[in-house]
């Protein structure tokens, strides 16, 4: 199943050198979609930043390793694990749960700066940001992030799970991405 996702994303993005994609995920296929997209970008670039707002990085590391993705290829920016203050280590930075958009941007920027090119950035997910923010703010955030990704010469993808709440964000953000990939 993960191989299907890998093939879909490969076909959708192969024409781009440093693609920035908006990945619209069917909620039933969330887990396999994440694994397939990570695998795709990990084969294209040496290292990447994985921004997790859904599951603690410790949980993700295990499921990625189980799927054959070397966890040392990823630096996690974790915006879900509860920590009393920002916690930084070699493979992750925990910014605390419920982090605001401005601090999240700064945390991402720092993490990307730690990695040499070629590198990628994955954001999991815009849907989660819609729980605590209005869609206009989330669109502005995503717009800024894609702009910086181009400047940083970084490929990657912003995930959004099809939940009937993300339509505004998808329509506003699609023009700034190279491709909208539906999985």
């Amino acid at each position: 199943m993960t191989a299907d996702v890998y093939d879909s994303i490969f076909q959708a993005l192969e024409e781009f050198d440093k693609p920035i994609a908006l990945t619209l995920i069917d909620p039933m296929r969330y887990q396999e979609a994440i694994l397939g997209v990570v695998k795709y970008f990990a084969t294209k670039s040496t290292r990447g930043v994985y921004v997790t707002l859904n599951k603690p990085f410790s949980v993700l590391t295990k499921s990625f390793e189980k799927a054959g993705i070397a966890s040392d290829s990823l630096f996690f920016v974790d915006g879900i694990t509860n920590v009393p203050s920002v916690e930084e280590a070699q493979d992750h930075a925990c910014l605390g749960s419920g982090i605001d958009l401005s601090n999240l941007c700064i945390g991402i920027s720092r993490a990307v700066g730690k990695l040499k090119e070629p590198r990628f950035l994955l954001l999991d997910s815009l849907s989660t940001l819609l729980i605590y923010n209005d869609s206009k703010a989330v669109s502005k955030f995503a717009h800024l992030l894609t702009e910086k990704m181009r400047r940083w010469n970084t490929s990657g993808s912003l995930f959004t799970v099809e939940m009937n709440a993300e339509k505004d964000v998808v329509s506003q953000l699609a023009p700034f991405c190279d491709k909208v990939v539906k999985i």
Binding site: D26, M28, D100, N133
Partner: protein
């Protein structure tokens, strides 16, 4: 016991939350069935059996004993199966959903049955439905191999005709608390695999619940947040969720005090399992009320005792949240 006035909005909200996916929404709802099964077995409300017919029989007995239906008759001939539901509590809700052109099924008996059937690698294609004026529902199905829903397993080729039928409201009727607990648990953990973003699904359920309560129970919510939450708390407490629900507001907090809280066994189990997305009907609907007032719930903190619970919800005003792209962009450039 808990009134259908509290349970039905949850089932309605769940069905409406997945309408946008079309028939594929049933796969999401069937995940609730997995949760109901898990909860029922863990609480020993019914027993597992290696014989699938016996296992289904045990589950049906649980729902009958808890007043969700008076009996379910199943007749199978070859691969065709006739299911007859007598005094089925879900029937008025089915009628309402059909008026919205929604064919998704959230009946707790059905989604639990789907979970058992799916694990055995079989699905049921819906051939025809019939409803009599005295509320007897019959479904004819064809048993086919499979594990995911198709249009044929969700939309009957010949759906029931509710035209000219006026089914009496059953919202004042009650069902046993074990049914409520199992549904609430199924709802809370059915979408757990999505992580924190599953809250968006539960928030959609909450919106659907408010719609149902307004339309079917004529619940009136005042304009102000405090009045709305108070009216909501009175409504669900009188429906049997708790002996009393006391709500207190401060500028960035909503504090709720539940006395003799019937959601407590589910809450405790969820918290013990490290699951942080509760499905208490008051909480689901309250989050929708709060969002409608331009606020978002940032954090929920629970404290529990033997029979009671306290909930502290931290809120943020969405209008106060500012994201200045230029300012943040220049800070990012300097890092």
């Amino acid at each position: 016991m808990i009134q259908l006035a509290v349970l039905d909005p949850m089932l309605y909200g769940a069905a409406r939350a997945f309408d946008y996916l079309g028939f594929r929404g049933q796969d999401m709802l069937d995940r609730m069935g997995d949760g109901i099964l898990e909860y029922g077995l863990s609480q020993e409300y019914f027993e597992r059996s290696s014989d699938p017919h016996q296992f289904v029989g045990n589950i049906v007995k649980f729902f009958v004993e808890n007043g969700y239906t008076s009996n379910i008759r199943v007749d199978q001939s070859g691969d065709t199966m006739d299911v007859v539901m007598l005094n089925w509590r879900y029937l008025p809700l089915l009628e309402k959903l059909r008026k919205h052109n929604s064919y998704l099924l959230t009946c707790p008996v059905c989604v639990t049955y789907n979970a058992v059937r799916r694990s055995a690698g079989v699905m049921g294609e819906r051939i025809s439905e019939n409803v009599t004026s005295d509320g007897v529902y019959t479904l004819r199905m064809k048993v086919v191999p499979g594990a995911t829903n198709t249009e044929n397993t969700v939309i009957p080729r010949k759906p029931a005709d509710f035209t000219g039928m006026k089914l009496p409201s059953q919202l004042n009727e009650s069902v046993g608390l074990p049914v409520f607990e199992a549904v609430a648990y199924g709802l809370a953990c059915g979408f757990d695999y999505l992580g924190a973003q599953a809250q968006l699904i539960l928030d959609n359920v909450g919106r659907g619940m408010l719609e149902f309560m307004r339309e079917e129970s004529n619940m009136q919510l005042p304009y102000d947040l405090e009045g709305s939450l108070h009216a909501l708390s009175m409504f669900v407490a009188s429906g049997g969720l708790a002996d009393s629900i006391n709500v207190q507001l401060s500028p960035s907090q909503v504090n709720v005090d539940f006395k003799n809280y019937h959601y407590l066994p589910v809450l405790k189990k969820l918290l013990n399992e490290g699951r942080s997305l509760p499905s208490c009907p008051f909480t689901l609907a309250a989050r929708a009320v709060i969002r409608n007032k331009g606020l978002a719930v940032e954090d929920m903190e629970w404290q529990t005792s033997t029979e009671d619970a306290q909930l502290k919800m931290t809120t943020v005003n969405l209008a106060d949240q500012q994201f200045d792209e230029n300012k943040v962009g220049s800070i990012m450039d300097q890092t």
